[in-house]
């Protein structure tokens, strides 16, 4: 039985990448969900471009404070040891390589790790926000996205056709079908969703995949 990963399972798989002590920046959407699944025993500190380090979970309207938001405009909980700072400082942390991991959504990732996630071609206007700063500055970039577009077009491509966010910056891609590492030799298929063969994944991927010796079903 082929079983794609749902949003929560993808978030859970992403969270397994966080190491004890990591400072992590989460993009909007599935990346933010990853904060719900920090592996037992690991202490992870969350950073947001809005100017806060060490915040807690997302709060609803009733509990939220307009003076404590993440970069997606959601209210977040204060935690002991939290700090706040200006935008210039928030991005000095990013550009200065102080962020261990950034988790981002994407439209396309190329086989050499180029990232396209800020603008759809032809729209003429885009929101870059902090994406290019994160792509350039975070020590490790994990992309989480659907494996193909709504029309079934591959998002893992040989060369990005959408406007680029950063060059050769993506380290790992988690999709609903697979976990793929970007290595100096190109993309390597490491894990598959239940029921999918390496050939199934390659058939839905424009980028050329090598298959890891120990390729296996995704482990959570």
């Amino acid at each position: 039985m082929k079983q794609p990963m749902d949003r929560d399972v993808m978030a859970m798989r992403v969270a397994r990448e966080f190491q004890d002590g990591d400072v992590v920046n989460l993009g909007i959407g599935i990346p933010t969900l990853a904060s719900n699944y920090i592996p037992e025993g690991r202490r992870v500190t969350f950073h947001s471009e809005s100017g806060v380090l060490g915040y807690g979970g997302v709060l609803d309207d009733g509990e939220g404070d307009i003076d404590l938001i993440n970069a997606g405009g959601q209210f977040v909980a204060p935690l002991p040891g939290m700090s706040v700072f200006s935008s210039a400082d928030a991005f000095a942390m990013i550009r200065g390589r102080h962020i261990a991991v950034a988790v981002l959504g994407a439209f396309q990732v190329s086989e050499r790790g180029d990232l396209a996630n800020w603008m759809l071609p032809g729209r003429g206007i885009g929101n870059v926000g902090g994406a290019m700063d994160l792509a350039a500055g975070a020590r490790r970039i994990i992309v989480v996205m659907e494996h193909v577009t709504k029309d079934g077009q591959p998002r893992l491509v040989r060369r990005c056709t959408y406007p680029l966010t950063g060059l050769r910056c993506v380290d790992l891609v988690v999709t609903d079908l697979a976990v793929i590492a970007v290595t100096p030799q190109g993309m390597e298929l490491r894990e598959t969703a239940p029921g999918y063969s390496a050939a199934d994944i390659q058939a839905m991927t424009e980028a050329r995949l090598t298959v890891a010796k120990d390729v296996r079903e995704v482990e959570l």
């Binding site: 806060v52 309207d61 405009g73 210039a88 550009r95 206007i125 350039a136 680029l164």
Partner: protein, 243 residues
């Protein structure tokens, strides 16, 4: 006393008076990450009423409805300046709502060709403002190297990595939203509402702060001051808040 004269010069009793001298064509820095926290809404409304035109507005967004706000919470953003056709040019990192179907006054003005837009990466925008206030003409950053946003910009390799030359930004006026001010113009902020405020406060010829509360000099612990008063020319207290 120097202190008293300085205080008398800085504290304004109305938002209208604080923005009265802003001329047509002024370059404005207007704070706000996007939500109501950190948004100098009373100053923005006063500028709308004052009517200066052909403005350049530098800010993170160009007005995002509902962002960072409670359900149904109304708040004034720079959107009102687009609605009132006062803006000629915008420099922003996140100009429009995520969904292309959400129409905003900025999007409408941009689609009509009435406003020129420069999109800048958020960290580059913050640093260009910081540099402007610190007397740094330009700087090299790896952000945006190899992308469309680096087109036409000088590049140079450092340590084998491509960097982009980004130029500092300064303004004629900055609108700041702080929590407390003392009469010297020293400012503190609340939480993530600090965002672009401290950098913008340094980068404008005239910085105007909208605050919850104005207290006598000495009531803010010098160790707690985030924006020293040297950067702040005018202070106005929001109605219904503080003392």
């Amino acid at each position: 006393m120097a202190t008293d004269r300085s205080a008398a010069r800085k504290v304004f009793d109305s938002f209208a008076r604080a923005v009265a001298d802003i001329p047509d064509g002024a370059v404005m820095m207007i704070d706000g990450f996007g939500g109501p926290g950190g948004m100098p809404s009373f100053l923005i409304a006063a500028l709308r009423d004052q009517g200066a035109r052909n403005l350049t507005v530098i800010g993170n967004t160009a007005g995002l409805p509902g962002f960072g706000a409670k359900a149904g919470q109304e708040f004034i953003t720079t959107a009102v300046l687009y609605e009132n056709r006062q803006v000629r040019k915008t420099i922003a990192s996140f100009p429009v709502p995520r969904s292309p179907s959400v129409m905003t006054p900025f999007r409408k003005a941009w689609q009509a060709g009435e406003v020129e837009l420069e999109v800048a990466p958020q960290g580059t925008l913050a640093e260009r403002i910081r540099a402007g206030g610190a007397g740094i003409a330009a700087f090299y950053t790896p952000t945006s190297a190899g992308t469309d946003l680096a087109q036409g910009k000088e590049t140079r390799e450092f340590g084998g990595r491509l960097h982009v030359l980004e130029h500092a930004l300064t303004a004629d006026y900055a609108f700041i939203r702080a929590h407390r001010a003392d009469t010297m113009g020293n400012l503190t902020y609340r939480g993530t509402s600090r965002n672009f405020n401290p950098a913008m406060a340094t980068a404008a010829r005239v910085t105007i702060a909208e605050v919850d509360e104005i207290v006598p000099a000495g009531e803010i612990d010098p160790e707690a001051v985030v924006t020293p008063g040297i950067y702040v020319r005018r202070i106005v207290q929001r109605p219904g808040a503080g003392q």
